[in-house]
């Protein structure tokens, strides 16, 4: 099966790209004046956060397509991108709190971005649980698509309210994790390349997960054909 070799090749490429951009961020990017080395966590935290929120956008598109084109497989795409989105939100929270420890001295800080990511993680969990709790079929695709649109439409409002709420209670600290305020050009290139690679990895994982789901559905189809 030639496509097998293709996918193995692609995954190796992914691993190579990630390794390259991470070493770039870890080794070759300059140290940060204020925070020293520990800021390098930004090279995994910010790309993960960006991918997490970007997958919410893709979920919106997949959901709209599901509602418009009934027979399309967009429902499975929505389900896969939500799962990958959950992985990245959890990753963002983990790296965010690891970065927070040396920066704020605590594992959790009610930073606007982190809080929104936390809520987004809950929403992804809700989406996946609702998806699996419904009986398979066109109705489930429609309900999941509706929820996908609601979640994606709500994220900006959540972020807005949390940011206002956050600035009300604590004035923004000088360097916030994920803050690009004091970033110089060299760091910016490294960060952007890390982000681009992380988006590609996210897309690749979503595509592979989608293929598994499509394969599982195909097997279900076959199993029905066998039943008398």
């Amino acid at each position: 099966m030639e496509s097998e070799k293709l996918h193995v090749g692609m995954s190796l490429l992914m691993i190579g790209l990630v390794a390259l951009t991470w070493t770039w961020g870890l080794k070759w990017a300059p140290t940060e004046l204020h925070m020293g080395e520990v800021y390098r966590i930004i090279y995994v935290h910010v790309p993960a956060a960006f991918t997490a929120f970007f997958s919410a956008f893709i979920l919106l598109i997949a959901s709209i397509v599901t509602l418009i084109k009934k027979e399309s497989s967009a429902g499975l795409w929505g389900r896969s991108v939500a799962e990958v989105g959950l992985i990245f939100t959890v990753l963002t929270l983990a790296t965010g709190s690891i970065w927070g420890r040396p920066t704020w001295g605590v594992w959790w800080e009610w930073d606007a971005r982190l809080t929104t990511t936390l809520i987004l993680a809950l929403l992804y969990c809700g989406y996946l649980i609702l998806y699996s709790s419904l009986a398979a079929g066109p109705q489930r695709n429609k309900i999941a698509a509706t929820l996908g649109i609601i979640i994606a439409a709500d994220v900006p409002i959540i972020y807005k309210s949390v940011t206002w709420w956050r600035t009300l209670h604590q004035p923004p600290t000088l360097i916030r994790p994920g803050g690009e305020s004091t970033i110089d050009p060299e760091m910016r290139i490294a960060l952007v390349s890390c982000m681009v690679v992380m988006i590609i990895v996210g897309a690749f994982l979503t595509y592979q997960r989608y293929r598994n789901l499509a394969l599982a559905e195909e097997l279900e189809k076959l199993s029905y054909e066998q039943t008398p």
């Binding site: 079929g137 279900e220 008398p228």
Partner: protein
């Protein structure tokens, strides 16, 4: 009135209806027969507009105009459900469904319809929740809803379920009134004897054979 051509329906890759075609004209009864699980109820729910067919076409024409939204001219009686709000009484239940159709029946019309089904007794027609009704009474109330709806096409799934002998006679009388007035009926019923007098047109649905 109702024309169904080459209807296909599959649920989760399982083809249930394969190329069903039939026609019901005004004043006619279509009796849908078939073994259990052959898709009779699925066909009814497709005709009622609850489920979408995967292929094929259904056209409903009343006084030779095609109806865009079939639901305006169709009343559906599901097999295991009567569509009654348990906490509401008979009058309110009937009034609710007629109002949704844009009709506003007076109390007399509702009571007259209930009378035909022996449900018009003052103690049981109002402030008496329908959840306290017996199965037969609920079925008769649902049939009263179908009768009051004034729609030309009736889709009745096991209408005789729970009806006693008297109920069956009442059912036959409203059925003949409906047919004489130029209405049409598609019915699924295991109990075929009461329908014989109307010499129904029969549509046989074979069970899907394993591919």
């Amino acid at each position: 009135m109702l024309k169904v051509s080459d209807l296909h329906f599959g649920y989760r890759f399982r083809p249930i209806l394969q190329g069903v075609s039939c026609e019901v004209s005004a004043g006619e009864i279509l009796h849908i027969v078939g073994t259990n699980g052959s898709g009779k109820t699925t066909l009814m729910s497709i005709l009622a507009g609850l489920t979408k067919e995967t292929a094929g076409s259904i056209t409903l024409t009343c006084d030779n105009q095609e109806i865009a939204d079939r639901r305006q001219k169709t009343e559906y009686l599901p097999a295991e459900a009567n569509g009654l709000y348990g906490k509401m009484d008979a009058m309110d239940n009937l009034r609710f469904w007629q109002k949704l159709r844009g009709l506003s029946p007076s109390n007399e019309d509702i009571i007259a319809a209930l009378a035909q089904w022996d449900l018009d007794h003052p103690l049981i027609r109002s402030n008496f929740p329908t959840e306290k009704y017996s199965t037969g009474m609920k079925r008769r109330l649902a049939l009263a809803r179908v009768q009051l709806s004034g729609t030309p096409l009736w889709l009745l799934d096991e209408p005789l379920y729970g009806l006693d002998a008297k109920g069956i006679v009442q059912f036959q009388s409203i059925l003949s009134q409906h047919l004489d007035a130029g209405g049409a009926v598609a019915v699924v019923s295991h109990d075929t004897v009461p329908l014989e007098t109307f010499r129904p047109k029969v549509l046989e649905i074979e069970k899907r054979t394993a591919s």
